[in-house]
Symmetry: C3
Subunit: 612 residues, 3 copies
């Protein structure tokens, strides 16, 4: 150990500032340059002092190491040095002596000066100061930096920069805010260190809790790793103030899935200190018109996200697709999203096309683990939501059952989810809720109808209102279905196909009420169900068509609709044929002028399919 | 009378606080419990003090009455007591000595501490304080209560609670606001008393002025009680900061009715101190697409209202239906509104179905008092508006005449309203205004076009602009009508029915310009008018049809359209027939594929109707 | 020179206030009236004092001149005078001694009291103070005047008034604001002087810089005065805080024109100190559905503008029409705009109808100077944008080339603009950008898609993203076109007309995919292009029709479509025929039921047109 009499030579760490040096102490420096009045010495990358020529002892070369005593730190920050030549010394490294406050502790620091290390999640230029949203491992908050009205402060600091910020904690407009006195983009090791620390902490915080599934299910167990990945990404987005856009299929299953996640995310944001306004601003749930992510949807989402990014310095959003997103039809939109590096997550139970996984960062799908569509999106979504925020688990535990009966799941999970809630909801009640969702969503068009939907799903704790609402909606939906059937059923045309199957045809545009519930697809489905009941045990195909489309439902006929569509596309020149769906349930589009040819071609193929 | 030397024992009233007790005075209390250092004594339900064991005179049981002198009130609110045993005393009750300020007087109290009694009209949780909107008999205002950022203050206080609030009056963001120091939900008698006082005062304030009608009219006189009820409810909603949604038929009559009420309500809100933004936020006028309250409308209204209720703690709205709302077609929406306990008011002149009155809290309708549709909604609406706010009376007095000619009223009221304004507007000018309203509303689609509509109705005091605007709109409307007639009239098919009536048929979809003014219904009406002029004195029926609907106009044929529709519905299987309207003017819907059968069936029935 | 002993008699200038008089000094006044306690004397139009009868020297008549000494100025502003009768005196005029601060200098005056002369650009009544937006020659800003909460301060001051304002400069919500202590509408000479000074200064500031065109072009040189006029008006609007609505044709040419001006205006607003929010609030770019200013568009624009005017005291907007606005089809909307005195500017390259110029205040059109549509709107718009703000010149210099290839310009300017940017963009790249614009705008419907469009036009400096985006959009667009052609081409019907021209007919509604890209007009164009290539050197007419419209493309047939449409309108009774366009490219509308007759009539005329 060195003698106490030894001179101590301090070596400044790379991030030390003027606050870390003291008059009277001696430091190691590097000769940086010469002026006629003295020599400039670099103490570290940020600090430079001057040895007046009267205080020089020896001559030096540029970049030579040298020891200097700090004589004086002037008010303007200039540092006067004197060269020293200690005989005996020991070297000590000075590291920055800042007490770093965590974002999550700001509320106890109002009125005090603090220093934080954080990464920049949003930069908004106002007509006054520049507002930086900062995130560290403990939370997020705003810092206001003012240079001149409307002028961007610290232009070198960008979205994603790792920064050290000092300033006073104030309460402004009832929000905590740091009034920035200094702000510095960390670089090199410092940046890496802080970035790594925040990353590691956020990563650890984002890790979902280890909780059991609501029910026993092999498929769901095998999906657990994927579900954890999805939950973690969503949790990270919340912690980092990244906006989330949740697009979902607008049916009972898709709504159940999306609302489960909505409940988990909003509650998590509230725990993070966001008010409801902010929570709903950062989280948008959008029912999609089509059963996939349409070009029109991504265009709209991108348009808004880019404007928010530009005007409010908002991060680009995380896209979550539920009950859609797993097929080739989503590709055009996904390609567009990828141009803008939008991260995408899929939670779906449709048969996935492998190519989709080139575009998404996570994908929960029962087909990946040997399951099928019977494990519906609502089941998956609810389990994911519980991983995002276990506190909402009780509130949403009946959603998988609603989704299961709504999507007519035949998987064993359906009954288990029904059993789980049997004390609170009968199967019929679940069916009623699913029908009410479909009916109400029809009138909501493509609005989320947040509170109405929550009442339908009994998420607001007002069971009486919930029951009355379901009662009314189910009554109205059934009356509308009956009225539609009264208009449509007499016009169904029956035919017996070569393979023995019954073919039922109905023009659902001219023999049904338009622009009302039930819409053509559901009308066709309802007709098919009735005809199946009228022909028990027989193979049945129902074809509900309009001017340029047809919807196919079938029972007991082993069709492969996607293949039939591909063949028709090639066989019927100028037919403009496209479409698809599942093997035995799907739809087909054609140009209006080729309807006859297209339907005849289709029917011929149906007539050749083997029957069960 | 007691001797002056007697000790006075004060008994604290149930709502007294620490401000009502004084050191040195003696109070009646109840022993609440014991500690090793002394005895706790309850002075009333809110105040508790401690008798140190050194100050105890006797031993007591729990709940025993005891007299105590207040020795000291500490800074932290603790009360030190000493037991006293007065020989002679007289009891005096202390009632709360608070000078209660009225909301309406806040502006003179800036910077001072006040106490108010009020009921809670809105609770908004911000990321900082909780904002309570308070209402008393004199006005409304906001109180901000802060516990912790984003945490709901006084969670026991709910929308509708009766409260006592103390705090300092501040001006924040140019708004008066009470910074709450204490807030208490009143209970029991106190709550009842304050509630009753506010209720009684609001009730009295809401009572409409006793002013005469603009014209003499037996029907309107008989409707006066109903109109007063409606006016009072709307006034109450204004005083209580309850949002109002006014849905109305999008024609000249409906617009006149709704705008009259809009003028009255906005002016009343402005008198209450609301700025224009708040006024238009709390009052929404929405022209309806259909001549009734459609499911799509209530869905949208509910979706928004529930979101506002959730995010901003806004009250659920009062629904006012004008020039619609009185028929069975409104029932589905009314049922939905009732689920959410939305109060509904109807001001209509269509033939009412009695069942509607099970769903609405007030209903003005001339049929209720022996009148008919000739007393139009615009007439009713204007008289109601005058009761809501007599100050707008002069500004809106010409609206009934515009409504009357717009709806082709044949009631005597029409001429009287025209006479009333004869110096300012000729009958032709009123017709022009009505046509301009119809034309402009067509292009506004279902936006309210507030300011444009006000200029058309000459409500902004710029008569020159008004005249120029009417001139242009009437010229444009007539040119468009002429163009439509040039396309349509040559395609009218004439037929003589068995009953001698002329039947004119025209396909208004393929023989008229689409998506432009005049729309199919008005096109049919215009064609009918021209054909009537060409066949003076003859019975005429005009049938303007499209793919799945027909519009019926008639003269001199004693049809009962609603009955015809009901019969056709039963007779034509798979026709999907519905519709209705008045006896001799109406419309019918069918599925497109059954148009031929439906029209033929309809025409057969028309041919059997007696002619005048 | 007068003796120093002479009494100086001061004569107050017309605008002097109480601050300009001093106790002890003598002033010239005019007897205004008599009371039993003294005589009132007017010192100027604004100041009046009283001579108590004890201080009167002589008797006077009303309106007599008199000299008075100021004895006392009371706290309430009353002025006590005494008559004086100086023997020798000299007259000196007192002019107002105010140091007038300029709006542009406010930021250096925070916390100080200032006086400004300005004109009023906006008056917004809040629930607290009245906010006046003031404009002078140096900039604009807000002044808050408070009388009573929600009560309009200085009601005599109107939008457009010239005012003198005094008050303290404060920073509120990070915005500079004057807290008004006094505000006065200047009148007479003062108003004129200030108004003239501001006008002159604004006029001078608004004058565009004198910069050369991007390319050599006789037509553009001849349009320079008109372009300078347009640029100046837009600059004035920016300086005066007048909102701007830019309506444009939603194709590549129109978008290029409008975006060029958008870039120039937003940058200018930012220089003026507006934040991005304000800039985009004051400047709205709206792609129009139709290739003209539709009634629906003006209705919407007026509805919003009038509401903003009413609620926020906003000025009525300047309307800028680009790539449309020059034909009779715009007249109905222009008439409507004129009713409200909305100034309108047109920058278009369609063949202009002279009557339009009765409605617009400036109009840039190559046809006015012997040019034609080959000098496209995008070329004009870019040159205008450079005059508005030369700083954006480099950023937008490639837009004319994109516009030129997008609109298939055959003018020499096309190649020159291509040459200008040859180092950065090839002709093919420009074509790709134009196609990408058309494709993306289709999915944007009628949203501006600001940031997406900027990326397509490479205005954000991210060339890689730009290239990837163009790559994807072009690939997608071409795939969609190929798919459409596969459906349509087989259904084209060929015919040889009497004049030897090939006529190709195609029903683009029933033989094309609907509601997708490419839409019917572009589908027809693509079919025509392919057929032209298949029949090189031959006259070709392609007729793409739907139920109630047809689109005409032609090569080598000397038609006059507008004349043909007029003739058909007269010849075909009940056809409802309208339409137009250029001589050899255009469209025609008819009622659906008369399609056969209309098309046959049209084809007959085509067959009679001379071929090249």
């Amino acid at each position: 150990m060195a003698n106490q009499e030894d001179t101590i030579i301090y070596s400044l760490g790379p991030n030390c500032g003027i606050g870390e040096i003291e008059e009277g102490k001696t430091y190691a420096g590097t000769v940086q340059g010469f002026a006629n009045f003295g020599t400039f010495v670099q103490l570290n990358a940020r600090l430079k002092g001057l040895i007046h020529k009267s205080n020089m002892v020896q001559e030096h070369q540029e970049r030579e190491q040298i020891f200097v005593k700090v004589i004086n730190i002037r008010n303007n920050g200039n540092i006067d040095l004197a060269e020293v030549l200690p005989r005996v010394y020991r070297l000590e490294t000075v590291t920055r002596q800042v007490r770093v406050t965590k974002m999550g502790d700001l509320s106890s620091q109002v009125g005090r000066s603090v220093t934080l290390e954080a990464s920049v999640a949003q930069i908004k230029q106002t007509s006054g100061p520049t507002i930086f949203t900062l995130v560290d491992e403990s939370g997020s908050g705003n810092a206001a930096a003012f240079i001149e009205a409307g002028v961007r402060a610290y232009p070198e600091i960008e979205l994603g920069s790792t920064v050290m910020v000092s300033g006073e904690v104030m309460r402004r407009q009832n929000q905590l805010q740091i009034e920035v006195s200094s702000m510095e983009a960390l670089t090199g090791e410092d940046a890496q260190r802080v970035h790594d620390r925040i990353e590691a902490a956020l990563d650890a915080r984002a890790e979902p809790a280890d909780i059991p599934l609501l029910i026993e299910s092999d498929v769901l167990e095998r999906l657990r790793p994927a579900m954890r990945t999805v939950a973690k990404m969503i949790r990270r987005a919340v912690f980092e103030a990244q906006p989330i856009i949740l697009r979902h299929h607008a049916d009972a299953d898709g709504i159940s899935a999306a609302v489960a996640v909505e409940q988990a995310v909003i509650a998590l944001m509230r725990e993070e200190g966001d008010d409801l306004d902010t929570a709903y601003y950062l989280f948008k749930r959008s029912p999609s018109k089509a059963p996939f992510y349409e070009i029109e949807d991504i265009t709209r989402d991108l348009d808004f996200a880019l404007k928010d990014h530009e005007r409010f310095g908002q991060k680009m959003p995380l896209i979550v697709l539920m009950d859609n997103g797993s097929t080739e039809e989503d590709l055009p939109s996904m390609k567009m999203a990828r141009i803008y590096s939008l991260p995408m997550i899929v939670v779906d139970h449709h048969h996935p096309d492998a190519i989709v996984d080139e575009y998404v960062i996570a994908h929960v799908n029962p087909y990946h683990v040997g399951g099928d569509f019977g494990v519906t999106a609502g089941m998956l979504g609810t389990e994911v939501a519980r991983l995002i925020n276990p506190k909402v688990s009780d509130a949403i535990r009946h959603l998988p059952a609603v989704a299961g009966v709504g999507d007519r799941s035949e998987a064993p999970e359906r009954q288990r989810y029904l059993d789980l809630i049997a004390e609170d909801y009968s199967e019929q009640e679940c069916k009623d809720i699913a029908l009410a969702l479909d009916y109400e969503q029809f009138w909501l068009r493509f609005n989320d109808g947040r509170e109405l939907i929550k009442d339908i799903l009994n998420l607001k704790g007002n069971r009486d209102l919930h029951k009355n609402l379901i009662g009314l909606l189910v009554e109205s939906a059934n009356a509308a279905i009956e009225e539609q059937m009264a208009a449509s059923m007499p016009h169904v045309v029956e035919e017996r196909l070569p393979n023995g199957a019954y073919l039922f045809r109905i023009d659902v545009e001219i023999f049904a009420h338009r622009f009302t519930f039930p819409p053509p697809g559901k009308t066709s489905g309802e007709i098919h169900d009735r005809l199946c009941r009228q022909h028990p045990g027989e193979p049945v195909v129902t074809l509900g068509f309009g001017p340029d489309f047809a919807v196919l439902r079938s029972r007991g006929v082993l069709m492969n609709i996607p293949r039939m569509v591909r063949e028709l596309h090639d066989e019927i020149t100028g037919g403009g044929i496209s479409g698809g769906g599942h093997l035995v349930v799907g739809s087909i589009k054609f140009v209006e002028g080729m309807r006859e040819a297209s339907l005849n071609g289709l029917i011929e193929k149906i007539g050749q399919a083997p029957v069960e």
